[in-house]
């Protein structure tokens, strides 16, 4: 049993568990699953700056901040107590391509060659962490949701605008991965 837990979980276990978050949040407190709005609540709580978009009672949405805090704690528990003793196995083509850009440490969740404090001193690291993060925050709010709010909650409730948004997420991802990222990684 413990061996099963520490090994990487297959998609057919993880996917349904993530899907169950939708009814869990609905049944517990009539909450719509959505994570990116936590970023908005933090803006509303800390730096509203009289911007209309941040003028709402964020305290009524505080459940969302508890939820994302839980996700962080879940990350700690999984890494400390349930860690997979073996290194992450990635596709050999991906490993070969990454090696071209001197990304050789593939054993961690995030490549330390790209996302680490020392990497923050490199142009590549700044683009990956600062610019990438900015686009995630700006884009999700512009779109009105992210993978959880649109792709999972939105499509689950048959909202066609969410399907449009999800298709755009994927198109953006394909464009970046194939057309732009090789240039960033080469920096």
């Amino acid at each position: 049993m413990l061996e099963f837990i520490t090994k990487p979980w297959p998609w057919y276990v993880a996917g349904p568990l993530i899907g169950l978050t939708v009814p869990a949040l609905l049944l517990i407190g009539n909450k719509s699953f959505g994570i990116s709005s936590s970023l908005r609540h933090m803006c509303a709580a800390c730096i509203p700056a009289k911007i209309p978009f941040f003028q709402y009672d964020w305290k009524k949405e505080v459940w969302n901040l508890f939820f994302v805090f839980g996700v962080l704690v879940g990350g700690i528990i999984a890494a400390q107590l349930l860690a997979n003793p073996e290194p992450i196995v990635i596709h050999p083509d991906l490993a070969a391509d990454m090696a071209k850009y001197n990304i050789t440490d593939t054993s961690h969740i995030v490549p330390s060659d790209l996302f680490s404090w020392p990497a923050l001193a490199t142009p590549r690291g700044i683009i990956m962490m600062v610019v990438g993060g900015f686009m995630v925050g700006f884009g999700t709010r512009y779109a009105g949701g992210c993978t959880s709010g649109h792709a999972i909650m939105g499509i689950s409730t048959l909202q066609w605008p969410s399907l449009v948004a999800t298709c755009c997420f994927m198109i953006g991802g394909f464009i970046m991965t194939h057309l732009i990222l090789p240039y960033i990684l080469a920096l």
Binding site: I35, F53, G75, L82
Partner: protein
């Protein structure tokens, strides 16, 4: 359906935030103590564990997804949607109420161009960071503390969007 002309401010495009809509304010939550929110933290913890254990938060898994080298992420997102869809169908069909006896409400999303422009922008960022907002928190939890920079930058991005929202096409 309200027609928006250029004089009117942009309507609600954010269907994750309910408190800005007076009709949707959840009464039971108003008087509830902060501790009642702990149950959401518990769900978050379970969710975070699944995220890490299934390597959904891995930058490499997201790359494999966009490079079509692995079915893993498609399987995760696809099966999550199927389970979510069946759950919502059951809740609607049998008019299941919350544990506190409240009626479960669903808001219809209306289309606006932000879903295209913002969606593309998020997609570009997603392939760079290898994380949507949820995995950012989980990555930090696993000890990748530098991702705090990415998270702060995402908060800044959200703020800048809010600041210039009225000038953007919606």
């Amino acid at each position: 359906m309200a027609q928006h002309n250029q004089q009117q401010p942009i309507g609600n495009t954010d269907f994750e935030v309910r408190s800005q809509n007076a009709v949707c304010v959840n009464k039971s939550e108003l008087d509830a103590p902060l501790s009642s929110n702990m149950k959401y933290a518990v769900i978050g913890i379970l969710f975070g564990i699944v995220f890490v254990k299934a390597e959904i938060v891995s930058w490499f898994r997201i790359q494999e997804m966009f490079r079509l080298e692995s079915f893993h992420m498609y399987g995760v997102i696809g099966s999550a949607i199927v389970v979510g869809m069946i759950s919502v169908f059951i809740i609607k069909k049998f008019k299941i109420k919350t544990l506190a006896g409240e009626t479960i409400s669903f808001t219809d999303k209306t289309f606006n161009k932000g879903q295209i422009y913002g969606g593309l922008m998020f997609g570009l960022g997603w392939a760079i960071t290898g994380a949507c907002p949820g995995p950012l928190y989980a990555q930090i939890g696993t000890g990748a503390t530098a991702v705090i920079v990415t998270l702060l930058s995402a908060i800044a991005g959200t703020w800048v969007y809010g600041r210039f929202r009225e000038k953007l096409p919606h």
